[in-house]
């Protein structure tokens, strides 16, 4: 009897996961057929949502999809590489302002401006990451916090960024004669961006670089001993995260047609980070879920009036209390 228990423990010494409803739900994904079916259901739901709900809901859902892109980007920095970034909105701002300024000052056109905006964001990633990635993560958090504020203050004070009033009259793009201007059209643009963001995230996670992020996050010395250049690998995470942020910012700017410094506040960075932590750092479906909860939560609670943010906050606290590593369970046991 005791022997039996001991041998079982030896075979499976990992703390067993409580068999919660979420875990059972997740078991569905172990079967590839069911997994692809689930993906198809989600894609169909995303495709028909604007037809089922009104225009107001479509705008909110567009915002949720923007958050999906931003959260997946921050997830690479925080979830994969383990670097706490409290100023992620800065990259979002760089993308948005770059496209707005280029649209205003040059005749490049929207699509030609995108590469410049991405390069600007990547450069910002290198500038902030290069000197600071040797710091421990708590120091890094402070530096990124400062960086986020510097970007916002610069935007508020520079002439080229339109100072406090920002930049308005950003032209909406056309693609092969299709002028993208209605909320529904933008919804589909963001849906497409989200799909690309998910595919890129999955592919990065299952790659040499993606594994290197995890190695460095778990044990920097062991990773170095395996021949991994930790500074370089972290910098790659930073730059890729900033490109995600910039892509979100670029389409955010043309969607609204106007941007101002207050769109890129510290609260914005915190909300994105919160969605990532809430859903489960490093877990793509969790991060997507987190993005939707953060955007849709306050909307769904609108009937509560003044109490809604309080109720929402208590809800978030309860989730973190019972699922400290995020809503989405870990796959491995």
């Amino acid at each position: 009897m005791a022997d039996d228990a001991a041998s079982r423990r030896r075979r499976d010494p990992a703390p067993s996961r409580p068999n919660t409803g979420v875990a059972q739900l997740l078991a569905v994904f172990d079967d590839p057929r069911k997994f692809w079916l689930a993906i198809a259901v989600v894609l169909v739901a995303v495709a028909v949502a604007p037809l089922l709900f009104g225009q107001y809901a479509t705008v909110i859902l567009t915002n949720a999809l923007l958050y999906v892109v931003l959260c997946l980007g921050l997830n690479i920095v925080v979830g994969y590489a383990g670097l706490l970034d409290l100023g992620y909105a800065a990259f979002f701002a760089v993308g948005a302002y770059a496209v707005a300024i280029l649209g205003q000052q040059t005749a490049l056109g929207f699509w030609a401006a995108i590469p410049f905006a991405l390069v600007a964001a990547a450069a910002a990633g290198v500038i902030i990451g290069g000197p600071t990635l040797r710091l421990r993560s708590d120091y890094l958090a402070i530096v990124t916090l400062g960086f986020g504020e510097i970007v916002r203050f610069s935007a508020r004070n520079l002439e080229i960024t339109g100072a406090a009033s920002g930049i308005s009259g950003i032209e909406q793009p056309s693609l092969f004669g299709w002028h993208i201007d209605s909320p529904t059209e933008f919804y589909y643009v963001f849906a497409l961006l989200s799909v690309f963001a998910v595919i890129a995230s999955v592919r990065l996670a299952n790659s040499r670089l993606g594994r290197a992020w995890l190695y460095v996050r778990h044990d920097e010395d062991a990773a170095e001993a395996m021949g991994i250049d930790r500074v370089r690998v972290k910098l790659a995470a930073y730059v890729i995260g900033s490109i995600y942020g910039a892509i979100g910012g670029i389409f955010f700017a043309v969607n609204l047609g106007a941007i101002s410094p207050e769109s890129f506040s510290f609260e914005q960075s915190v909300l994105i980070l919160m969605a990532v932590i809430l859903g489960g750092m490093g877990k793509i479906p969790g991060v997507i879920l987190g993005a939707f909860i953060i955007v849709l939560g306050p909307e769904l609670l609108r009937d509560l009036g003044e109490l809604r943010l309080l109720v929402f906050a208590v809800g978030l606290l309860l989730i973190m209390l019972f699922r400290p590593s995020g809503i989405w369970p870990s796959r491995k046991s």
Binding site: R208, L209, L214, D221, A225, R230
Partner: protein, 258 residues
């Protein structure tokens, strides 16, 4: 000489840990580094692998000076190591752990990963195949999909060895690989260390406290005490050296230990 240390000096805040250590490892040799606790054995490993920066001397490996290099550059040149306390990547499978070793032999970056270029897919297959080969070599391929830290202790040690092998080293530094193993596992370890040299042509430098294992497996033994090299030779020579016997806590006890 594959690895040659000349006058290596290491100090921490005025404490001299290594005094002008001169020491070498020949191509495809099985060498052990022994000495009482605190003699500076692991510090010497850390100087070779770039984790510590010695204040003086030189470390030449395969024609390259290692002294100014970061650990990952040293690994790329062909020195792999294991750690005294297991340093496996938590929450990752055995296979994923071993795949880490191939990082320095492959190149695909973010762009290749996102677009799944043919070169990237070929490389991924190669990484997986090499990792599986290393696991087969150490005899735990059937556990490749388990979370590494849930394996029996002796098998976790083998994961570390497989991971080091996957860097395709010319020299492997094993820091107390027998610690915590039972006698059966120690015998298997001796066989494994010999096979690493015989079948893979990899030189092995071993830090170990188990004298039985050291005497059986090593062709040459170097003895370190208080940061100084006090003896060097074959097992028999070292065993009879009075300075070695004295270093091991008084003469009689020392004799008993050897």
């Amino acid at each position: 000489m594959l690895l040659k240390l000349s006058d290596v000096q290491l100090r921490f805040a005025g404490n001299t840990v290594l005094h002008d250590v001169n020491f070498g490892v020949a191509e495809s040799a099985l060498t052990s580094l022994i000495g009482p606790n605190g003699a500076g054995k692991t510090s010497l490993f850390n100087c070779i692998t770039g984790f510590y920066k010695p204040q003086g001397g030189s470390v030449v490996f395969d024609g390259h000076e290692l002294l100014r290099l970061k650990p990952h550059r040293v690994t790329k040149l062909g020195i792999a190591r294991t750690f005294q306390n297991l340093r496996l990547f938590r929450e990752m499978t055995v296979l994923e752990n071993v795949m880490a070793g191939m990082h320095c032999r492959t190149h695909a970056g973010a762009f290749a990963a996102v677009f799944r270029t043919p070169g990237q897919r070929r490389e991924e297959a190669e990484i997986r195949a090499e990792a599986e080969d290393c696991l087969r070599f150490v005899g735990i391929l059937d556990e490749k999909d388990r979370i590494a830290t849930t394996l029996a202790y002796g098998h976790q040690r083998r994961v570390e060895i497989a991971r080091a092998l996957a860097t395709r080293p010319k020299l492997m530094l094993l820091d107390e690989p027998a610690a915590g193993l039972n006698s059966g596992e120690k015998d298997e370890l001796i066989g494994l260390i010999r096979r690493i040299r015989d079948e893979r042509g990899v030189a092995v430098l071993l830090i170990e406290h188990d004298m039985g294992l050291v005497m059986k497996v090593s062709e040459r033994i170097t003895v370190l005490d208080h940061g100084r090299l006090i003896a060097e030779g074959t097992a028999d020579e070292v065993r009879r050296d009075p300075k070695v016997i004295e270093a091991y806590l008084g003469q009689e006890e020392g004799e008993a230990a050897l």
